[in-house]
Amino acid sequence: MINLRDKGAEIWERQGRLGRIGIAVGGVAMAAALPFMGGTILNTPIADYESVLVYPIAMYVLMAIGLNIVIGKSGLLDLGYVAFFAIGAYTMGLLGTKTSLNTWEILPIGIAMAMFSGIILGVPALKLRGDYLAIITLGFGEIVRIVALNLGALGRSEGIQGIPTPPGIFGIEYAFDSHRIYFWTLLILILLAIWMVRRLSVRRAGRAWESIRQDEDAAELLGVPTFKYKVWAFVLGASVGGAAGVFYASKTLFIAPDNFTLQISILILACVVFWRYGKYLGCNSRSGNSWLPTGSNSFLIRRPSARVRLGVGNHDESSS
């Protein structure tokens, strides 16, 4: 079988600046056109195609990009990523129903909450060795769910209902069933996240993460403040998860602890692992392809439409 990723990277390598812009624009355009491709080979027989495109596919892509900062870039195994997703969603749920803030105002608050919890979890946990970190984060993911399940203020097992949809912005209305609009908004968030990760990767932070992933002790000896950058990776990963959570709550209008199980963490992890560590664009291509073991429409999710190549290949072979 032809290795599409390497092939893509090769083509990308040979292009000049103009060609690269062309590929990137073409890729984004193709991804943006996905909602129109329902009814063809990409159809989903039971679930609504466009809603599947928003959740899980685009949502998982976004989260996988966030998780990839933690796992792929800096080599820290985080098994409780769903916690940040849940924290973002519950922030949206609580503030959206109890106050008059709208989704766009809550988005930064949700991100901040997720980042804050990232610090709370990260500062003690990141002092530990890799496999202990995995267990701690795994426990944390489950604890967040249990707290949501048992705390009256968070609605227990009924969760929070009647979460408002985002208000219109730039004349675009967010009706709850206009999935396309949500998909495109998510696409913008995804592009923003990719941009953030790309910019960070080529700068000091990216080099620090790379060195931590390869050999943490050596990095520390060479003067990289490893702990600081590990916490940063964790917090940035959490921020993307929080953003996804806020948007998710605002899209589904209803959240319950059952939406935030360990399985989601594992699936996002699978998204990251499938396309080898460190290839955040791989997250796009594979996230929809992971076999979703839970949920009613489980294997519907296994679908080629998720092969969204945004055309922006990361060809840094040393990081694989």
């Binding site: 946990a125 048992n150 360990l262 399985q263």
Partner: protein, 316 residues
């Protein structure tokens, strides 16, 4: 509250002790594997879950017990309990060995670091848990009660229930057998050797793969026994019990110092009691949170556990 607690202290303690012994047996599964491979065998929690189902299969399907049938007595009761225990142990042990061969062996040969086996282990646990979930339609399964749970006697105000007694005595027995196995037999010696230095052990002609398989087998046997005791005590199971019990048992293993068999013993006891007391004060729904907080505190303050990673002969 405190008065209540003192009134119930002994009955809580007995419940906590038997829970503690269940934790000890699962923790042994973690700690044995960690001792030899320096790897957290994540799938152990699901092996425990399979053990509980194996027990129910014996009691319900082989001996045809239903919720309404009469309690077994005398020889038949011991036959049922014995068969269920042995079957649960064998199923879990063999499954544990298979998991090692399927999920870890290749990665170990490739020297893939610590994260890849961990991810592979999560994959295996997911496959096991989800298969059982599909087979049971996501419903919890109740075990018919084969044994009348009578009280053997009184200790202060608390009745000593027969199932708790059986658990404590047989778990102690199994623990003793394990200690003897590790310290006295040829294979136990090989396990200790590999745990001290795999390379030197290989140079001395020890078959590493065999030792690793044996370790997984023994860990699985202990975990399977825990599955049997769990069903004996709580009389139900479901496809998702593995996770919570697994985290708790792992905490127990860490508490005593992971890789240290005696540590697993004290850690399991301490955690079982602590969890029982804590759920009395906070309510059972916060049980998992208590365990997790204990885990974080231990890892943060004493990552080697209360008894430390024993780097001497006692380690296995």
């Amino acid at each position: 509250m405190i008065g209540n607690f003192l009134d119930q202290f002994w009955s809580l303690t007995f419940g906590g002790l038997s829970l503690g012994f269940i934790y000890i047996l699962i923790a042994l599964g973690y700690t044995m594997v960690y001792g030899v491979l320096r790897m957290i065998n994540f799938a152990n929690s699901e092996i425990f879950m399979v053990g509980t189902f194996a027990t129910i299969i014996i009691v319900r399907d082989v001996f045809n017990f239903t919720q309404t049938s009469e309690y077994a007595t005398g020889f038949r009761l011991w036959l049922i309990l014995g068969t269920a225990l042995v079957f649960a142990m064998v199923v879990s042990g063999v499954l544990s060995m298979l998991v090692e061969i399927v999920a870890y062996r290749r990665l170990r040969r490739m020297n893939s670091g610590i994260l890849a086996p961990l991810i592979s282990a999560i994959g295996v646990s997911m496959v096991l848990a989800e298969s059982v979930r599909i087979l049971t339609d996501s419903r919890p399964v109740a075990s018919p009660r084969a044994m009348e749970k009578k009280f053997l006697g009184q200790f202060f105000d608390a009745g000593i229930r027969i199932d708790n007694t059986i658990i404590v005595i047989s778990a102690l027995f199994l623990f003793g057998v394990l200690i003897t196995f590790v310290n006295k037999t040829r294979m136990g010696k090989a396990i200790r050797a590999v745990s001290m230095n795999p390379n030197a052990a290989r140079l001395m002609g020890i078959n590493i793969d065999g030792v690793v398989s044996a370790t997984f087998l023994v860990g699985g046997l202990m975990t399977g026994a825990a599955g049997f005791f769990y069903v004996l005590k709580y009389e139900n199971t479901s496809s998702n019990i593995g996770f919570e019990l697994g985290i708790a048992a792992f905490t127990a293993a860490i508490l005593g110092g992971i890789g240290n068999i005696k540590g697993a013993f004290y850690g399991g006891l301490a955690l079982g009691l602590l969890e029982t007391y804590a759920s009395f004060f906070l309510g059972t729904q916060w049980k998992a949170v208590t365990v997790f907080i204990v885990l974080v505190l231990i890892l943060y303050t004493r990552p080697n556990g209360l008894f430390g990673e024993a780097l001497t002969q006692t380690r296995a």
